[in-house]
């Protein structure tokens, strides 16, 4: 799938080329690839590139982050909100190793990134030179592709391949390590052509009509079909195709957290969230449906619970662009290999227009039970301390589901994903597969640069915020407008919840202390407010959203609330607990 537009510029006549440094060639390549924003941090081994960047300040907006991990999470946020490739610069050694968490996060969440790292001079490779690290080998397991450039002449081709590989097929992070000599070296630059074919790499499997027909037949015969969709729908820009399929087939559809927003929260066939803290109906009825149609999702263990008790009664149809996902966790009866933007319309053509009224009513009945047992108390408490859910609910009332919500990892993430309203695609940004605490603040910065017209609200816990709070400096310096809500429960809440439920309340190192976040923000010139009373909530959220520029709102919430429903680890999805 093409997730970024390509500017293919062709020169009017043949040119002999011009003398250019490797660094300048790199920046020229970025311009042709349509890059407008770079997140980075300079250092010794990447200095020639930064020197060249000095002359490109007008064309390439470089955001100086405070830590390379912040840089790469910002790149991820940018890629997720814009659909384009995120670009990150870092120096060799510690600069490069600081990218590793973000690379792993982007790899598991299929986020297209091109990371450029500086490297020591080629003649110093392998000598334990200052700030030398074997970046290629360190990053091999966490990149879709990586490559070390030691000669400037390789740069155009390496960058072209990097962008092509990062954004096509199942997207992912690519790292290009460029030795200092290659950055400095002058060569005869003959121009830059984006890459669109690598013979050993086929980003999209060939669509096979026989499987589409087979899938349609199974769907048409189904009495209780159920759709699970994931981020593949977004990555393939197939939201319209997906909606058409859901609406024609009339099949209830539930989402993985990275799939949220492909169709609006309020859509009548959107029956909610899957997984460990997902909604009641989608989990229970997974084990009751007769046909399971998985679209662009990978049956993560947080979605499936215990595999040998997962949807055993159902025929499974799996649409995925990555052939390695088919049969990886759940056995497939009908594999539909391909880009869902291409396969979904073919399938929609063949399925009968139906309404599964009774079956859908079952989901609604489970929703009613869940509202009664869990949701009401979470969203509309009348006494006691505030809950995370009511903060998100009040936020919905003000944003009406049009904001980009960036969540960190933990209880607030589950609450955020469960209760935030998503009217638009690409508006839920979170660290799904890797569960990287500290993701949200830098990712929100990147998300704003990737979607300037949108309101970006980062919802973060008191623990996660302290993992990357140095990026407040990036907000200060770049002037980016990010709204930050810290849901402070004075605990590492999710671990505490597990300790309460499964470790007899042995609260082992989860009572985390925090600084005065508002004062910290103030130190960075960022406005802020801390509230503890329900009466202040709505007006404070409004104040935050109306504020010109970034704003940090710290909300004290109940210390020991648990996120429910919950599928305990090792249990089947149908054993989901409401309390």
């Amino acid at each position: 799938m093409e997730v970024a537009q390509q500017d293919v510029l062709t020169a009017p006549e043949e040119k002999a080329g011009i003398e250019l440094s490797g660094s300048a060639a790199l920046l020229e390549a970025l311009l042709v690839e349509g890059v407008d924003t770079i997140f980075g941090y300079p250092g010794g081994a990447i200095m020639p590139i930064y020197d060249a960047l000095y002359d490109y300040k007008e064309k390439l907006n470089h955001i100086l982050v405070r830590h390379e991990q912040g840089g790469i999470h910002a790149g991820q946020g940018y890629a997720r909100s814009s659909g384009k490739v995120g670009v990150v610069f870092a120096t060799s050694g510690p600069g490069a190793t600081n990218l590793v968490t973000g690379l792993a996060d982007a790899q598991i969440d299929s986020t297209p990134l091109v990371c450029i790292t500086g490297q020591v001079f080629a003649h110093l490779l392998g000598t334990d030179a200052f700030q030398e690290t074997d970046v290629i080998n360190i990053t091999t397991p966490v990149t879709k592709w990586n490559y070390q450039v030691t000669d400037a002449e390789e740069i155009p081709e390496a960058i072209a391949k990097a962008f092509y590989i990062a954004r096509t097929g199942r997207p992912g992070p690519v790292l290009i390590d460029i030795t200092k000599n290659a950055q400095i070296q002058k060569f005869n630059f003959k121009g830059y052509t984006p890459c669109n074919h690598i013979r050993s790499y086929r980003p999209k499997p060939i669509v096979r009509p026989q499987f589409i027909e087979q899938a349609a037949k199974v769907i048409n015969e189904a009495k209780k079909p159920f759709i699970l969709w994931g981020q593949g729908v977004l990555l393939g820009s197939a939201e319209q195709e997906f909606k058409a399929f859901v609406e024609k087939s009339g099949i209830p559809a539930a989402w993985t957290i990275l799939g949220a927003g492909a169709i609006p929260t309020d859509h009548p066939l959107n029956v909610g969230m899957l997984g460990m803290h997902g909604n009641y109906g989608p989990n229970v009825l997974t084990n009751e449906c007769d046909v399971l149609i998985a679209i662009g999702m990978r049956f993560d263990d947080r979605v499936t619970g215990r595999l040998d008790k997962y949807a055993k009664q159902a025929k499974v149809i799996h649409l995925d662009i990555d052939p390695a996902e088919i049969d990886k966790n759940v056995k497939t009866h009908v594999p539909v290999w391909g880009d869902c933007k291409e396969t979904l319309p073919l399938l929609t053509n063949l399925v009968e227009a139906k309404q599964h009224t009774e079956w859908l009513a079952k989901f609604n009945e489970f929703t009613r039970q869940e509202v009664e047992a869990v949701i009401d108390a979470e969203l509309h408490p009348t006494s006691g301390e505030m809950t995370m859910g009511e903060v998100v609910d009040q936020l919905n009332n003000l944003t009406n589901g049009d904001a980009i919500i960036v969540t960190d990892v933990g209880q607030h993430q589950m609450v955020g994903c469960r209760y935030a309203k998503f009217n638009k695609t690409r508006s839920n940004i979170t660290s799904g597969g890797l569960g990287t605490m500290g993701f949200a603040l830098p990712a929100a910065i990147g998300a704003k640069f990737g979607a300037q017209e949108s309101t970006v609200v980062a919802i973060i816990g008191d623990g996660g915020f302290q993992m990357t709070l140095q990026e407040l400096g990036t907000i200060m310096q770049s002037g980016v407008d990010v709204k930050i809500i810290i849901l402070n429960n004075r605990f590492l809440g999710m671990v505490r919840q597990w300790q309460e439920l499964f470790n007899e309340r042995r609260y082992s190192f989860v009572d985390i202390q925090s600084p005065d976040f508002v004062q910290v923000a103030k130190g960075y010139g960022i406005a802020g407010k801390c509230i503890k009373e329900r009466e202040e909530l709505q007006s404070s959220l409004k104040e935050m959203l109306d504020h010109k520029g970034s704003f940090l709102l710290e909300v004290f919430v109940t210390k020991e609330n648990n996120v429910f429903p919950m599928v305990p680890q090792g249990c089947s999805v149908s054993e989901i607990r409401l309390k």
Binding site: A11, E28, T140, T193, D327, T332
Partner: protein, 218 residues
Amino acid sequence: MSTELNKNDINSKVLPTGEDLGGARQEFNITVYTENQIGLLNRIAIIFTRRKINIDSLNTSPSEIESIHRFNIVITETEEVVRKVCRQIEKQVEVLKVYYHTNADIIWQEMALYKVPADVIAEKASVERLLRENGARAVVIRKDYIVFETTGHREETDNLISVLQPFGLIEFVRSARIAIIKDSDGFNRKLREFEQDQPGEDVNENEYLNQGQKVFTM
């Protein structure tokens, strides 16, 4: 690309799915056609180490096509695991194609070298019979030692170890397994498909981007 169901043709994405491949662990021979790229060996090896699978044997060599490399990897696993691993390998950008086979599907050989003290072996053994019975030959004959070589299956090379051990075997080494696939008609046709598969416009490869009129110039 052909549409017939072919078990070996992983890339054609028409593997029968949903079936239980559990089965018993046995030796599987994985053949990987790749570009010749630094770092690719590591990229392939970590797919096994990540799942804590031991690589019994690994050989890299040129293939029937110039510039295309061929890996022969042997692991002992269930077919289900082997298939998953093969798909992960084939996903790598520089991997063209992966096949897996049982020992029955291939012709395979391993080569072994044995160094023994010349005086002992000359005095105590009937060297000629020993060579004949074990299909071995002497590669080097020196005053102080002799190096024998034999090629065959594991039992055969193992057998010669026990034969030579009493004569003071000094050194032994065995190569990785190399294998030819019985029902393969080579990789040429497949490669041509890959080279033509969805090439955009006229650009086939970005070979230093020296294609005059297609080139962006500042």
